[in-house]
Amino acid sequence: MESTSPFYSVVPEVKYSPPWHDLSIIGIAGSSGSGKTSVAMEIVKSLNLPWVVILVMDSFYKTLTPEEHTKAHANNYDFDCPDSIDFDLLVSTLEDLKQGKKAHIPVYSFANHQRQPQTTTLYSPRVLILEGILALHDPRILKLLDVKIFVEADMDVCLGRRVLRDVRERGRDVEGIIKQWFTFVKPSYTKFVEPQRHISDIIIPRGIENITAIDMVVKHIQRKLQDKSESHTEALRKLGLLAAKVELPQNVHVMPATPQFVGMNTVLQDPATEHVDFVFYFDRLASILIEKALDMTSYVQTTVETPQGNKYLGLHPKGSVSAVAILRGGSCLETALKRSIPDCVTGRVLIQTDASSSEPELHYLKLPPQLEEHSMVMLLDPQMASGGAALMAVRVLIDHGVSEDKIVFVTCAAGETGIKRLIAVFPKINIIVGRIEPDGEPRWMEKRYFGC
């Protein structure tokens, strides 16, 4: 008889999943010239959302050997069979994206049939449309797809479109196109493309002209996104409840309420304050926050010599410090930032909270290169209410390789629940808070600062 192995209780881990975690992937397959691209474009247009991305499978063609390269130029290379595509790379890319990670999409050059050294970075799409003749070929990909679409068109139409496109856009001659069609494209269609029809969820005949079918697909995606948005908002709410019980830990630094600091806060919160005064006192207050934040970076000891030749054992900051402003509000803090570090490397991320659902949305992202090597990255936001935007911004930095303990969140005012929620998910970040304000305070500081 075997003894019972020890049983460990599991402490539930507090996690935050951004909405691009578990993104929706739509696969669109179909013969060459069937109108896959047009259908994909139409879906993007109808969804009318930020962060809908079309990923074309052409990017995942394998690099050709010199012999294959010669063949390709003589229209003797089969680009239509599954072997020409690097499915392993495609699968791992899609898996990364599905987990909310950053992915590097290869860039393929049709001129010399080679993968280029540079890649395109893809991060945080909410919907991804994978488009390619063999989009539904690999069973590993099928598992990742939310919707499987097969676009169908009469083969004559397909050939006609292909001839027109290749002559016009790729400068090829008709003879070569016809040769390739009958040697590779057509046999491949029967062997690999057509079978995908049977495993697809939706078959769209006549491609782009089929408004009813496209509308159905769009409605389906919208419904799925709505569900995700609701569960994201709900998860944020639950995090707040969970976090409400904990005390503010030591890495949350609330500025001491000195007479000057409280005085400045009074001036800032008084609606009678003139705009110029508001900007002046805001910059002054923000400078104090930035100076405080700089205490969080690493320092190394150093001995310097004074002009009289005396030695002093002092400190030098280690590595570089950068900042990322959460737009639009975060840019209010940049004047103060530049006072302390005039040449501070600064990234930007635009996160807007949807007024109706109070769900934060990532709209724009531009981060400095080698951010992960910096010794400290400050996240700037003048006000934090529920912490939704802050959670998302920290997640973005971590996904770009910045380690949690190097992130310092700097804000003039924050609600206690928001801070607790942020610190519950990311316990190692430092938070500099000017003033604790009641929970659920609407954002107003940036409006006053910018005057609109």
């Binding site: 007479p259 009074t266 000891q301 009289q308 400190l315």
Partner: protein, 245 residues
């Protein structure tokens, strides 16, 4: 081991309290003094790093100016905290009541020329339209004592709080004379704040006993003075490094 304890090293770990000693780099921090009217800025790693920059003889003038200004702003912010405030409540733009404070009392800056003038920018960064008076004190070649050469002060200075500015506080000779001038103009001792970057322990001690109601705000109290009455380790001649070198 015992001898080590007998002479405590001036070096100590600096850094946020939540970090363990191993994570804190070691640096020489300000000497401690026990006068109630002497306020030394918190010895944060950030402040020590700024002081390290301006002490370093290799630091070029542009950087010297930039880093001194950053320390001066911290000094001014600390100094202003000693000014009186009165309660004031406001209704915020989102309609919430906030019980805050209002700055009370008029202020002015008085710089001891020429080095003290280097601190005016930092003062203006925190108090936009502040009035600034000047005092020129030079060493009298015959008596070797500091002598008042010139002063230009606001007419109503007796009604104001005075922030007296001089970056290096060595023997305190000039500062003592400047305070005498201010008091002759009717400024009460308790309304004078003397802001400086680096002070000598003996200078601070003499001054604090002589003017018990006057507040001294400094970033650092150094080891001592050399034969020429220069602060050690110090940072050289502040005026020269800021204006000419």
């Amino acid at each position: 081991m015992a001898s080590k304890e007998a002479v405590p090293s001036p070096a100590q770990g600096v850094g946020p309290t939540y970090r363990t000693d191993e994570e804190k780099p070691t640096a020489t921090v300000s000497k401690k003094v026990s006068y109630e009217n002497v306020h030394v800025l918190p010895q944060t790693p950030q402040l020590i790093a700024l002081l390290t920059m301006i002490r370093d003889k290799r630091t070029v003038r542009a950087d010297f100016i930039f880093y001194s200004n950053r320390i001066i702003r911290l000094l001014v912010e600390e100094g202003l905290n000693h000014l009186p405030v009165v309660e004031q409540s406001v209704t915020t733009p989102v309609g919430r009541d906030y019980l805050g404070v209002k700055f009370e009392g008029k202020i002015c800056g008085v710089s001891i020329m020429r080095a003290g003038e280097a601190m005016e920018q930092g003062l203006r960064d925190c108090c936009r339209s502040v009035r600034i008076g000047k005092i020129l004190i030079q060493r009298d070649e015959e008596t070797c004592m500091p002598k008042l050469f010139y002063d230009k002060l606001p007419a109503d200075i007796a009604d104001r709080w005075v922030l007296l500015l001089d970056p290096m506080f060595a023997t305190g000779g000039s500062a003592t004379l400047a305070v005498d001038v201010l008091m002759q103009r009717g400024v009460p001792e308790h309304r004078i704040l003397f802001l400086n970057l680096i002070a000598s322990p003996s200078g601070v001690a003499e001054f604090a006993e002589r003017f018990p109601k006057l507040r001294v705000v400094t970033a650092f109290i150094d080891q001592g003075l050399d034969d020429k009455k220069y602060i050690i380790p110090g940072l050289g001649d502040f005026g020269d490094r800021y204006y000419t070198l």
